[in-house]
Symmetry: C2
Subunit: 369 residues, 2 copies
């Protein structure tokens, strides 16, 4: 059949991760925050991209020596790959993780009086923990009243003091300066002279005051625009594409997909693309999101119609030149980034990225010079 | 400190999968659809629960001998564990998967003229494929016009004919009988006498006409109510719980979480629970979802406040007796099932389940007698 002259029939979606760009993003961020020390956030399995691969690339290719994970199991995964680096565990230490801390020489972030009590019973030799104080996010961290109750010896046991911003992606939000003031006030009172870290990669763009001694670079390194009040300075890292399995006609009046949420008001031509929410494409893209097709150097946009299902997405290719079986439908790429897809899906790119990479059906390709 | 007398400080969330209940659901469904043959849908890595574990349990514990996956890579994963079973691959066969089909003796589901052409060039010895026809979902499958063009030899090469319903979770939806009629019409015309499968587990409840020769049991087996017009007949299979890392006070007027989307109108007491969207808890539960705490045999409900973040969820425990660090917050359990969480998150339980189990930070526990 003629299509074989141009196209190969494939069935599996592809996730491509450009580690060169990820490293360039990291290095650009490191320049922006200088003289603060850069560090890499590889929690949530490096936002789903595989923390082992990402941490190793940052360690070997960008000289990164400080990593942040959420859980000790995540630290254990990367520790053998970054032997001279320090690994901070944000959710801290508990009975279920103390052995991993010992085995992999992880550094706990202590965020509550109860965790401090636990730490004092399970102190690890040669490890000075980090203390997490709350400056207004009202999530994890010591409150001022908690700090007041600590002994002088308690206050002296830490290697670094950190906090976390609530609204750093909105440059003009009043919370930013409020939190900076709170943080500096508590530092002065309880942790004078101790190295400090306040900002993640959204805070990196708020100016030198917010950078303190170390910045925790995460989302921006992965290509997300963490300063959405101006164009993205980062490069897109992710490409998701999936093959067209079928192209067919839809007669006027026909319905498409589960619960028949799309009805053809006129005759349409549709393509069925081999990817779905089982691959991390949010179901909230139903009847809203887009799939792109490349013809030579031109990108053509096809609207998703009907419900996104577990394994397939249907899109309207009526106005697109000659889409055929075996063509690649692009779901995330330089022209329709994580930020764009997340906007269409009604969520944030952090959540989208965290979902995508964990799926086992992708053929995964890492680009690294 | 006193809390140690009752509670142990932990940091890692736990995902518990009750395989006994999963097998009981499967067996109950098998009775409902009898005399049709039951088969198990373990695509999307068994909706994230690990297809290797689930398929093995069904094979050894419930005598299941027919499995459906979406992609050949998924078939390859379970094949060694279910040696005498037949594994159907719904997305079919292509250049990227033909070797896996050979190696693991998988059965392709052929859904388009192009795929049939590919199959005829790459036929596997001793494998008769399944043909997928569209009966109104307008997703994958041969249309009537495609079937018209097939030769008699083409039509004779298949072992089974399948289709898929669009609205089977709405018993009274006109599409159900429309699709049944279309399916039977095309079967009569092109595939007379060939074994047939129309329904997934939502169709199983539509009556004997919809069950044909084989039913593809998926969502209901995992405990989802696929017939939401009446109470669930299935048992919940999933428990998700996470430890409280911190309990603290919130003064009147304080904000909580990213973008400060919650403001305390009165003084509150809050708990920070060690789970987030990085573990598959949808961010759309922000300010909407619930976390439950067990005191003796009583369940107490805490509203999620502020944004769900990657690693943490904050909930309001003002009215709950003595919640303390180390208590378990229940996110999914018998009293607040996948269906309940998905409703609060504005999605379906299929998508929720597909997300949850793929995350690597859970301590996973499988219950199996």
């Amino acid at each position: 059949m003629s299509f074989f002259t141009r196209n190969i029939l494939n069935t599996q979606p592809i996730l491509e991760i450009d580690l060169n760009r990820l490293l360039e993003n990291y290095q650009k961020l490191a320049q922006i925050i200088a003289p603060a020390t850069p560090s890499a956030v590889v929690k949530d399995d490096a936002y789903g991209l595989d923390a082992a691969v990402v941490a190793k690339a940052l360690y070997e290719g960008a000289g990164c020596r400080h990593f942040w994970v959420a859980h000790a199991v995540e630290g254990a995964k990367i520790a053998p790959l970054v032997p001279e680096a320090q690994i901070f565990v944000l959710q801290g230490i508990g009975a279920d993780s103390v052995d991993l801390f010992k085995q992999y020489h992880l550094t706990p972030v202590i965020s509550s009086p109860e965790m401090l009590a636990f730490w004092k019973k399970h102190t690890l030799p040669n490890v000075k923990p980090v203390v997490h104080i709350d400056s207004g996010l009202n999530r994890l961290g010591f409150r001022a009243a908690d700090l007041e109750k600590l002994s002088k010896a308690d206050l002296k046991m830490f290697a670094m003091v950190i906090s976390h911003l609530a609204c750093a992606d909105e440059k003009a939000h009043f919370m930013n300066h409020y939190q900076l003031e709170q943080f500096n006030l508590l530092r002065q009172k309880y942790f004078k002279g101790l190295p400090a870290s306040l900002s993640a990669s959204d805070g990196a763009f708020l100016g030198v005051d917010f950078c303190c001694d170390m910045v925790r670079l995460g989302a921006a390194m992965y290509g997300i625009n963490t300063a959405p009040y101006r164009p993205n300075q980062m490069q897109n890292v992710i490409t998701v594409k999936a093959p067209v399995l079928q192209v067919t006609d839809l007669a006027k009046g026909q319905f498409v997909g589960y619960s028949a949420t799309y009805r053809a008001a006129t005759a349409r031509r549709i393509a069925i693309v081999s990817i779905g929410y089982g691959d991390g494409m949010p179901r909230s893209l139903s009847n809203v999101g887009k799939i792109f097709f490349r013809k030579d150097d031109k990108w053509q946009e096809a609207r998703i119609i009907g419900r996104v299902s577990m394994d397939n997405i249907i899109c309207d290719v009526t106005d697109i030149e000659k889409v055929q079986v075996g063509d690649w439908g692009y779901c995330v790429f330089d022209g329709y980034t994580l930020d764009d897809v997340a906007r269409d899906a009604g969520t944030i790119s952090y959540e989208l990225l965290s979902r995508l990479g964990k799926n086992t059906r992708f053929a995964r390709k890492y680009l690294l010079k």
